[in-house]
Each structure stands twice: as C-alpha cells, then as structure tokens.
C-alpha cells in the first residue's frame, strides 16, 4: 500500500526517476484543442484591437484552463490505492484482482477517474472507471488479470486519469503500488497411461507402514487403551499373553519428482515444457492424494500432501530458473543427478530436459525422463 506521493517503496533508482518523471502528465483532448484554438483566436483579436472586453473574454478562457488544471489535480490528489492479490496465480488462468481506492480529500469528491495498471512500464487498461468518489470514502473495484508465462508478475503502479471538469485535458497521475506475484506453470492434461504407470511402479516400491488397512503388518503385546477388537485371539491363546494385530497402511505410496534446471539456451522451450509437465504431474498425483516431494535443483519441498503442499511446490516451479551448463558442459554440479539414497524419497521420477551427450551421468532415479520422453509427453502442450 502506498500513499499518493509520500513514501516510495524500495525500488530501483531508475524506477524512482521514471516515477518522478511520469507521475503527472497532461494531454489535450480534441475538445481541448478546439478550445485552445478559440482562445488563441480571441487572444489575437485582443492584441490586435486592444479592446479590453476581448481581454476579459481571453481571461475567462484562460481561467477555465487554469480551473481545469486545478480541479483535475484535485481529483487525482490524496488518493490511496491498495491491491488485493492472491499468493499464487497460474499462467493463462484468469485471476481476480481487487483494487481498493480511497479518497483522502477532506471536502471535495473526485470525479471521472479512469484507472489502469502499469506493469513493467506498460499501461494496461482494465476498463476501471469511477464516476464519483466522495470525500473520505473508499470503493472496491475488481478485474481479471491473466499472466501468459510462469515466473514473477510485477505490477508497478496504478495510473489514474481524469477528464474532469470540462473534458478539455486528460490529466494522469501515477501511484506507486508495487506488487509481485509468482506465476506457476499452467496445468495441462497429461497422458493417463503415463500417470498410471508411475502410480503402479511406485506402488511396487512402496515401503510397508503401519496404518489402516487389511493386510497384517505386525503382532505385538496388548497395551492399555488398545482397541479390544484388534486382539489376535489365536496368538493370545497360544502364548497366553494378550496380543494385538496391527495392519499395514494401504496408501503409503510416496513419489518424488526431481527436475533438472540445467539446459542450454536452445533447450529453453523444452525446459519450460518440462516445468509444465512436472506441475501437471504434481497436480494429477495430488488429486489422487499421493504424498509428493519436489526437488528443483537445490530447492526441496519436502514430502507432503494436500493443497497447501501443492501450492508450495507450484511456487517452487514458478520461481525456478533455467541454468545454462558451464563451458565444460559439466553436470556434476546438478544436485538432481546426484540424489543419494533416501528411504523417505519413495518412487523417484527424474526429469532431465538436457543431459550432457559427451559425458552421460548416471542418474539415481526410479524413472528418468530424458528429452525425448519429455518431448513425447508434452507434445500437446
């Protein structure tokens, strides 16, 4: 949240300069051009004749110009903007942004305010218009935004402009309302066969764990508080000691997806497709309540399940950046290739958009998706 001209949040010096240079601008409308032409005409007549009544009319025209400037400035001053944004948005997915506008003018209302976003120096008209905003009052405006690519979406300023009072000049003001939203890759449909393969392979490798199920996991001594229905009577009779039966959890299938961010420039598209594939896989697996873990270069989401965990993983994917391989093409520094043995990792899918053809490295994953596989899977993206 930023006040009109008060404090400017931490932005670069260039941005600050640009803000100072463009915070106010004025443009003539077609009516304004005609009005000024009339004014010039009357001015010429006044100078030619020396008739003071012509000077009086000229003064009236000029005072209307001055009043236009003052009132439009008044309309644009002491406004406060506050953007309400979601924590994460998806690329190509419309999201609603709410803009709160408060008029801190003590007495006079603001009229005819047209608002637009300024993102990376570009003005984006959202069709926001406020007819009348009374003094000391606020209004909420909602509008959709769509991010076309994953990464970070920067919204720098809000531009307010007005034609009030006479429609002669369009006065604009910039308000610094910086915002930064991570944009996750879009979720695409993935081949169900491929997903099923991963699930079935993962299931074969899943570790037995105690939980709610039907298969026997263990027999142990009865402890106070145990459910009496779980007593295993045959063993109890044989050993003359109360024994209870523990069952094996049926859904303890965890999957780890590791994404390599190493790819040369020419593989950028494939890298982006890989990111989208990983996001889509995560989404599909999350829909089936799988515990998931995502490793992107050195970032590790840790195991987890549920929508919050999915959002955290998508945020990782939103912010990951492709790294170009070094001169030697070495991939030793790629942590994804050197995953150690970890019992918690479960079934591991490694996504490799690029691997060094000169020195192919051994990848410690249960399923490795190389460039050719990725291309096949993301063909329809």
């Amino acid at each position: 949240m930023t006040k009109a001209f008060g404090h400017i949040p931490t932005v670069s010096f260039q941005s600050r300069l640009r803000y100072l240079a463009t915070r106010r601008s004025i443009r003539l409308t077609s009516e304004g051009v005609r009005f000024l032409l009339f004014t010039v005409g009357i001015g010429v007549a006044a100078i030619n004749t020396g008739n003071n009544l012509f000077y009086l009319l000229l003064a009236m025209m000029l005072s209307l110009v001055v009043i236009s400037g003052l009132l439009s400035e008044h309309c644009l001053r002491r406004l406060e903007f506050h953007r309400h944004l979601p924590d994460l948005i998806m690329a190509n997915d419309p999201t609603t942004v709410t803009l709160s506008v408060t008029n801190h003018n003590r007495w006079l209302p603001s009229f005819s305010l047209r608002l637009s976003d300024v993102a990376s120096g570009q003005h984006v008209d959202r069709g926001l218009f406020i007819d009348h905003l009374a003094a000391q009052r606020s209004v909420l405006l909602s509008y959709p935004i769509v991010a076309s690519t994953r990464g970070k979406l920067y919204l720098d300023c809000v531009r307010a402009e007005t034609l009030f009072p006479f429609g002669l000049f369009l006065k604009r003001a910039l308000y610094q309302v910086p915002a930064e939203i991570p944009v996750s890759p879009p979720i695409r449909p993935v081949s169900l066969r491929f997903v099923d393969e991963i699930i079935s392979e993962g299931q074969g490798l899943s570790l037995p764990r105690r939980g709610h199920g039907t298969q026997l996991y263990n027999l142990r001594l009865y402890q106070a508080g145990d459910d009496s229905r779980a007593i295993h009577w045959m063993t109890t009779a044989r050993t003359s000691t109360l024994m209870v039966r523990e069952t094996e959890a049926e859904d303890q299938r965890r999957i780890t997806i590791a994404l390599s961010t190493l790819a040369p420039d020419e593989r950028n598209t494939l890298f982006e497709h890989s990111v989208t594939l990983v996001a889509s896989l995560l989404w599909h697996l999350s829909q089936r309540s799988y515990p998931l873990r995502l490793i992107v270069h050195e970032a590790d989401s840790g195991p987890g399940c549920g929508s919050d965990h999915l959002l955290a993983m998508l945020r990782l994917l939103a912010l990951c950046e492709r790294r170009a391989p070094d001169a030697a093409g070495s991939s030793l520094s790629n942590p994804v290739l050197t995953l150690g043995h970890d019992a918690d990792r479960g079934y591991t899918v490694v996504v490799l958009p690029w691997s060094d053809p000169e020195a192919p490295a051994a990848v410690s994953g249960d399923r490795v998706l190389h460039a050719s596989h990725i291309e096949g899977l993301t063909h329809g993206f």
Partner: protein, 725 residues
C-alpha cells in the same frame, strides 16, 4: 432535474445570454430578435416536456437535409447582407450568427450539436464585446461565465467514460443522475472561482494593441462654444442637455465637491457685436519633459505672480467633436498618453486631432491671485500687446460705455471698477435661459438696457465690453462650470448643460484673473432619491470604464509600482519590528540572566541549557501530538477519538452489568456476550460497536450525525442499566 435535462437547460441559457449581449448592443434587427426569442422559448418548453411540443414539432421539418438547406440559405442571406444590405462584415456576421444559433437550438440532439452551440455562443458574446463598452456587459459576462461553467461541466459528465477498451468499460449512468444541492453549490463554487481567476488574469495580462485592420468607430459628442467663432446664444442651446462630457477627480483635495469648479476651454478676444472670435489663434507644440508629461508653463517662470496651491485633476473626457482639452485655470503640466499637445496664445490646450474614444489625462493647474499692488494701484499700465488685443470693442458701444462709467463712478482704482461692474451685473440682472438673442442685432444692448435677463454668455460679454470701455483688458472664456458632485465615485460629473462662459481680467502684476459675473442660479432642484440612484449608476459606470474599458499597460505599471512601494514599506515595517523585538528580547535576557551570570556563571549557563532542552522537548512533544497530517485530517482524527471514548463508556456500562470483558475479547465477541446476557441492550451495543469498528478501524470518518447517534445509544444504555437495577 437529471443531468441530461440540466445540460440542455444550461446550453439554452448560454445561448440566451450570448443573444442578450447582442440584443443589448443593438445589433440584432427586430424581426431576428423576435424569431430568436420565440425559438428560445420553444427550446425551453421542449426541454421541460411541454405537451404541445409534439404538435409544433410535427409542423417542423425533421429531415437533416432541410436544416442543412436552411443553413445554406442563411449563408446566402449573409452574403446578401454583406454586399447589399448592411455592407459591413460585423453586422452581417452577427445576423448570420444569430440565424445559426436558431438552427442549432431547433436541432439540439447530439453532443456535437451542443459543442456547435457553445462555439456559436462564444462568437456571439465576442461580437457583443466588439460592439459595446457599456457597463451592462459585465452582468451579461458573469451570466455567460456561469452558464459556460455549468454547460461544460454537464457536457463532460453526461458523456460516457473514456475508454480505449469499450468492451470492458462500465456503462455510465451519469446522464440520469440528479442535480443534488451539493452538486449545485459545487458547480456554482467552480463558477465563482473561475470568475475570480478571470479577474486576476485580466488584470495581469500584458496589454498590447497592434491595431491592424481597425476601423474608427462613431463620431464624437457634439459640443458648442469651443470653435474658432462663438455666436452669442450658442451655449444656451445646450443648457438642457444632460449628456455627460467629462468626469473630473481632484485626488489631492480632501474637501472637493463643495465649491463650483471651472474647467477652462478656450478664450476669445475679438467681439463684433454678435459673436466672439480669436484674433490670433497661433499654436505652439508643447515639449515633453518626461514620458507622457507636457509642460504648459511653469509657475517658476511666472515670478511676481501670486499663485494658488497646485491643483491636480484627473479628467476622463468623452469623445467630442472638438480637440480642445479642458482643465482648471491655468494648466501647468499635462500628463497623458498623447503623442503631442498644442497650446494657443490664450492658454487654450488642444490635441493635434479629435478623438473617437474617451481619453484620460491629468492636469496640474495653479490659479492667479490679485496682488496687493494691483489691488491698490490707482492706474495700471499695460503692455502694448495686451492693449492691442484685449481692449477692442465693437462699434456703437457708447451706451455701454456710459453705463460702465455710471456704475464705476465711485470707484477709484481699476480693481474697484472691476468689482463694481461685477457686482452690478450680479445684482441688477436676472438669470434666464429664455433669452432668445440669436436674432437680435445688438444682443448686449438688449441684455443691458431692455430685457435685463440672460445667461452666462450675456453676462460675460457685457462685463468684458464694459471693462474694455474703461480701458481694463479683459477676455471671454468658454468652458464648463462643474457643480454636480458624485459622492459615490468622488468626482465631478460634467454635462453639456454645464457649458459656461466667464471673464478673465488682466492685471499687470498678477496676470489673468478669473471673474464670473453670472449670478448663481437657484433654479437647480434639490437632489432627489432618483438622482442619487442615477449618480450611483454613473459612479459604477465610471469605475467600470476605469477598471475594465480603459485599463492599460500604464495602469499595470502603476499597480506594480504601488505593490513594490507597498512591499518596501511592509519590509521596512517588518525589519523595524524584528529589530525592536530582538532588542527587547536581548534586554530581557540581560536583565534576567545578567546578575546571575556575574555571580554564578555556571548556574546561568545551566539555566540557559535547560531552557534550550525544554524548548526542544516542547517542540518534539507538539510534533508528536500534532503530526504533519493533522491539519488535513484533524476532523477525522478528532471524531475517531470521540467514538473511542463513547465505546469505552459503553464498556464501562456493560462491565457494571456483570458481563466479563477479557482483554482478548473482540468487539464482536462482546456483542455476542451482550446478546446472551442482556438482550435489551443488544441493539444499542450493536450500533455502537458498528460505529466504533468503522470509525476506529475502517479508515473513514464518522459524520457528526453518527456521533450524535452514538451519544444517544450511550444514554439508552444508561437508562436500561438504571431500570434493571
């Protein structure tokens, strides 16, 4: 009234105001004025939904092509008017403009039509400015400005929101908004502000006049008595004329207006029995001694003459058919924007040309006084030039000579003879404007011996001739005798009827002395209330003329000078006060700390340091309590504090009732507790809580009405608490 209707009304008012401007300037013929008034009335009735409009509209052409044909017809009429009827661009253009105005009023549908109407109205008010300088223009102008502000504002507000992306633009419903009282006063406030800015800009706009393609306008006011020859009886013909000739201010005279004031025009020395003329009217050009200042003759050059105090006059002279400049006798300096001034041999001032517009000039005059030497001398010796010019008498003046001698029998000195003749004429003859002497062969003889009634010309001529028969040089002077003092404007109003003739008598050591043998008439009626109103209107007209019509670059410079002088004096005053205050403060410090410093210097310095620290702490405390936004947000902050106090009162009442309020209890939770434990107070607590939350956290100020409502709720709660006990 909704915005759309108001927009139409304001456009009609704008057009009507511009038309009234043209009407007052008498530039619209009757048929066109009648047509336009009818159209204006019809347009107004149509705006307010007059039921008969459909009947009238059905009789009018609806197709645009018909109206376009009408426009072409109007243009052809304009060409005809320009070439055949009026043969001048301005009148023909005005007629065309009014026709366009009518067509636009009848076809006022689209926003473009409104813009056209605004442009036509602007041209019309411009045309009326070209045609008039009268004071009514300011009222038309103010009305026009008010209507223009309303029109432009409503035209903007009834338009849709500007959007580069109409697909997402919200549909505006402003056209159907109502004019609220707040909007009404806001718009009028804008109009007042615009008017004030207009005045400021008008006065600071640099005045330039190039004067390309300008035509002189009109002829000057016809005057009599200021030509080369003046027939006896001419002045009498204008004695009933009330037209204003000039206005004269005496800025240095505190008691101005109490006495009659002579404005000298021309002097005449030759009389042929029926008319006066000047034997030699040779003129010389006056030299300019400074920018716009001309020296007629300096008092320093008239050594030996006793002179009165300098008298400064600011004169606004109407456009006359004569080039004579009028001033109190005798002018010494003239300052004005003239390219040159001529003076004739009898001290008459002339412009090199006759003016077609009002002129303003200032004159400093000093009158001669009779010296004691001239007053007492038994015989006076005159220079031959004086004798040659100012002792001429017409043939057949013996009877007048006898009368003069008889009247001055007992007089010893020339001055006594002059006074005797003056007294004789003032006492023995009756003032009357009925004296018809233009056909008489010997008008002075008729006046002196037969009719014994006349007016200023007869008195003055008779006195000059009588004096000359006694060998005393004298001449007749024509000019104006100002008697009408405008107490509202502080100036003399001089009219045609104030034209006057009097006498100047020459004394060798004193120069020309003004004497007026015409008795003061008692026929002037006492001023009535209506005349007072007229004088007030006249004063307003003069101020209008001075402040607006005649406002010039010279006035701007004068204003700048006065500002500079004012700022200099203000600066001097501030400096004096600062120095005085500083000296007083130093004196106070010395007297209070001095003795301590002498005896206990450490104590003195400690006291000083403590004072500085205390002052700094005070400033910090004030700044802390009074943040920078206090002035702008003072009211909301104060109201926020008030609602917090009311809420605390509510908490105390609720706590007394036994409802436990933990520090962590939120306002909403408290409301729930109250609902469960004290249901009667639920509505009051709910309302107070809502006001508190909005005022305290909602970042919006509560109105005074809402605060009053909060107080009422507290009282209700107290009443409920008492009732339950």
């Amino acid at each position: 009234m909704v915005f759309n209707q108001a927009c139409r009304v304001s456009a009609i008012v704008l057009a009507a105001t511009a038309f009234v401007g043209l009407l007052f300037a008498r530039s619209v013929p009757v048929w066109l004025a009648t047509l336009t008034l009818t159209v204006l009335v019809f347009a107004t009735l149509q705006t307010f939904g007059w039921p008969g409009r459909k009947t009238v509209l059905s009789g009018l052409p609806a197709a645009p092509s018909v109206w376009n044909s009408l426009l072409i017809g109007a243009f052809l009429l304009f060409l005809l008017d320009l070439t055949v009827i009026s043969r001048e661009l301005l009148p023909a253009g005005i007629h065309f403009l009014v026709l366009l105005l009518n067509v636009k009023l009848m076809t006022l549908h689209d926003r473009r039509d409104y813009r056209h109407l605004y442009a036509i109205s602007l041209m019309a008010i411009l045309a009326s400015a070209a045609l008039t300088t009268d004071v009514w223009y300011i009222s038309v102008f103010i009305l026009y400005l008010l209507a223009a502000v309303w029109s432009l504002l409503l035209h903007h507000l009834t338009g849709g929101p500007p959007s580069a992306n109409p697909a997402v633009a919200q549909v505006s419903s402003r056209a159907s908004w109502f004019i609220t009282s707040r909007f009404f006063w806001l718009t009028n406030g804008i109009a007042v502000l615009t008017f004030l800015f207009t005045l400021v800009i008008f006065f600071i706009l640099p005045r330039v006049s190039i004067g390309v393609l300008q035509q002189p306008r009109g002829e000057g006011l016809r005057t009599t008595g200021f030509s080369e020859r003046v027939d006896l009886g001419m002045i009498g013909s204008v004695k009933e004329d009330r037209q204003i000739v000039m206005r004269v201010e005496l800025p240095d005279q505190a008691d101005a207006g109490k006495e009659r004031f002579y404005l000298r025009g021309l002097a005449y020395d030759q009389y042929n029995g029926r008319s006066w003329s000047s034997g030699s009217r040779q003129r010389r050009t006056l030299g300019s001694i400074a920018d716009g200042v001309f020296a007629v003759r300096s008092g320093a050059n008239r050594t030996g003459h006793e002179l009165s105090e300098p008298l400064r006059q600011d004169i606004l002279l109407e456009a006359l058919d004569t080039s004579v400049l009028f001033a109190a006798p005798f002018a010494e300096f003239v300052s004005a924007d003239f390219i040159g001034i001529h003076v004739d041999s009898m001290a008459g001032l002339h412009l090199p040309y006759t003016t077609s517009s009002r002129i303003r000039y200032s004159v400093v005059s000093r009158e001669h006084r009779i010296s004691s030497e001239d007053r007492a001398a038994a015989e006076l010796e005159y220079a031959s030039a004086i004798r040659d010019h100012f002792l001429q008498i017409p043939e057949g003046s013996d009877q007048v000579r006898h009368l003069a001698r008889r009247v001055t029998e007992s007089a010893v000195t020339p001055h006594e003879r002059t006074t005797a003749i003056l007294n004789h004429l003032q006492s023995e003859y009756q003032y009357s404007l009925d004296a018809e002497t233009s056909t008489s062969l010997h008008p002075i003889d008729d006046f002196l011996f037969h009719r014994k009634t006349g007016y200023c010309e007869h008195y003055a001529t008779a006195m000059v001739i009588m004096l000359r028969t006694l060998g005393i040089p004298a001449r007749l002077v024509t000019g104006f005798l100002a008697t009408e003092w405008n107490e509202f404007g502080g100036y003399y109003t001089v009219r045609q009827r104030d034209a006057h003739a009097w006498v100047e008598v020459f004394y060798p050591h004193s120069g020309w002395i003004t004497l007026d043998p015409t008795p003061t008439t008692s026929s002037i009626p006492s001023p009535s209330m209506w005349e007072g109103v007229q004088r007030l209107g006249e004063s307003i007209r003069l101020h209008w003329d001075r402040a607006f019509i005649r406002y010039s670059a010279r006035d701007q410079m004068a204003v700048i000078h006065s500002f500079r002088e004012g700022s200099d004096s203000a600066r001097d005053a501030v400096t004096r006060w600062t120095v005085a205050l500083g000296a007083a403060a130093l004196h106070l410090i010395r007297t209070s700390i001095g003795p301590v410093q002498a005896s206990h210097p450490i104590v003195a310095w400690t006291l000083l340091l403590a004072s500085v620290i205390a002052l700094s702490a005070l400033i910090l405390a004030v700044r802390h309590r009074w943040p920078s936004g206090h002035f702008t947000r003072g009211v909301p902050v104060r109201r926020q504090q008030q609602i917090v106090q009311h809420y605390r009162s509510m908490l105390r009442i609720v706590a007394r009732r036994g409802i436990r309020i933990a520090p962590s209890t939120t306002p909403t939770e408290l409301m729930q507790h109250v609902r469960q434990s004290w249901s009667e107070a639920e509505s009051a607590v709910a309302e107070l809580t809502a006001l508190y939350c909005r005022g305290r956290f909602g970042n919006s100020s509560l109105s005074s009405g809402e605060l009053v409502r909060a107080v009422e709720q507290i009282r209700d709660l107290q009443r409920l608490a008492r009732a339950s006990q």
